[in-house]
Amino acid sequence: MKKLSILALSAAVAAAVSFSAQAASDKGTIAIMVNALDNPYYAAEAAGADRQAKSLGYDTLVLSHNEDVKRQNELFDNAIGQKVVGIIVDCADSTASVAAVQKATDAGIPVALINREIVKDGVALVQLTHNNFQAGSDVANRFVELMAEEGPYVELTCNLADNNCVTRSKAFHQVIDQFPDMKMVARQDAKGALLDGKNAMDSILQAHPDLKGVICGNGPVALGAVASLKSAGRDDVVVVGIDGSNDEMASIKAGDLKATAMLQAQELAVQGVNYLDAYLKDGSKPEKERIMFRGIFIDQTNADNVKDFLYTEK
């Protein structure tokens, strides 16, 4: 099911790309660069940006750098060579990407960063990011409540090389550490991936069969933990995560995953395109360069409102 939905989303993005290549526009082309198009989160970012750019009359070029700074640099060179009018990028690295963004800006091409920020101000047109701290705090608060403020728990981080994951972990601990009866018995970096999450949970569960809860840095890791606990017949363990993919929604509705925070991937991408469009029209810039979007807390009461990282009140 997960593979099917990823394939469908990727196919939609690919179809959009091929269509955009055919239909030339007077307004020019916006390059959209994300990490990997086979990941539902990044595919949703690309789809959101692509749809909005087209609705505003631009052609699009959707590309993935697979979190490879060198590849990203080549994509920037190509985009500059093709004289795109703007770039939307969820960048490969917060520090190393500064040079690539600077290169495009120097070439007169505005860059809107989405999701991952760069460390330097004044280089990009705008940097739109999720409030990972707020998302982490909201999820941790529910976790504490579901754990009745006590008991052994595990933290599976998403990828400690990613600053967003570090921020989420800090938010978890700022909340949970205020409850001395909650004891963290293990903490492991599950690299943001489902299989790593499952493997980590398998081994931790053997060492700590008494655990009551698992708090996870992202959705795939949480789903990996759920898979591990299900195969061990442990439906008594509370699992929460952050991201808000369709697969997480299915898990929440089934009662396996207890809560998550949906990151507004599509909304960020849409707004990024809007800022580029405004700049291209009359040179207007956003009031502030760094803008945060809240994570929307999701549990069984509102999981039906989420599809492809877009929240629609029903």
Partner: protein, 207 residues
């Protein structure tokens, strides 16, 4: 030997008079990444600006609910009686509560007092030691995320504001039946009702 002493003296005088300063590793790290001054100022901001802002703008809870129930548009209601930094955030309402303590929950670390007004409205007031949410941080009109530009530090600021609220609230000994006056704030996504809100206090006075 004399040369060595001379060299040492020269080095010392260069260090003393050149404006150079020897620092510890910890001091060096702080110089590289200085703590936001607002973190240190959080208790002072709480005691002066925040308390004044809430006292000056708070409506008694029953009056606030009456006024809100007469409005249709929550965004407009927030603009009139509350405050939020952006439209997609929760609205924070300043509020005054006068009534008697009808229940005390000190079993949970998210402890509360239930205060029942003369009109019979029962509202929970957070007394900690853990305060949920960031109403007291987010209601501040002159301090926002842009003053920090760092999610973690902004979160830490909220935590320090909440910690000061707990300190104030726990200066009192509470008993069921006591009359109290509370000033504080609560956050909500939509039109509130008495059971859904949790007031974070800036002042709790036993009458």
């Amino acid at each position: 030997m004399r040369l060595r002493i001379l060299a040492l003296a020269l080095c010392t005088s260069v260090l003393c008079f050149s404006g150079c300063r020897i620092v510890t590793v910890q001091e060096y790290q702080q110089l590289q990444d200085p703590e936001s001054p607002l973190l240190k100022q959080a208790p002072e901001i709480f005691d002066t600006k925040l308390t004044t802002q809430i006292k000056d703008s708070a409506l008694p809870i029953d009056e606030l609910f009456d006024k809100l129930s007469a409005m249709q548009d929550f965004a407009e209601a927030c603009k009139t009686y509350g405050y939020r930094q952006a439209d997609d955030l929760q609205c924070n309402f300043p509020v005054k509560l006068e009534g008697s303590i009808s229940e005390i929950n000190s079993k949970s670390r998210r402890g509360t007092l239930t205060v029942t007004t003369a009109d019979g409205t029962a509202v929970k007031v957070q007394i900690g030691p853990v305060i949920m949410g960031t109403a007291l941080r987010d209601i501040q009109k002159d301090i926002s995320y842009i003053d920090f530009n760092d999610q973690t530090v902004y979160g830490e600021y909220g935590e320090r504001i909440n910690a000061h609220s707990v300190e104030h609230a726990n200066a009192n000994k509470y008993e069921v039946g006591q009359n109290v006056e509370v000033y504080g704030a609560f956050s909500t996504w939509d039109f509130p009702n008495a059971t859904s809100i949790r007031v974070a206090p800036v002042i709790v006075t036993i009458k």
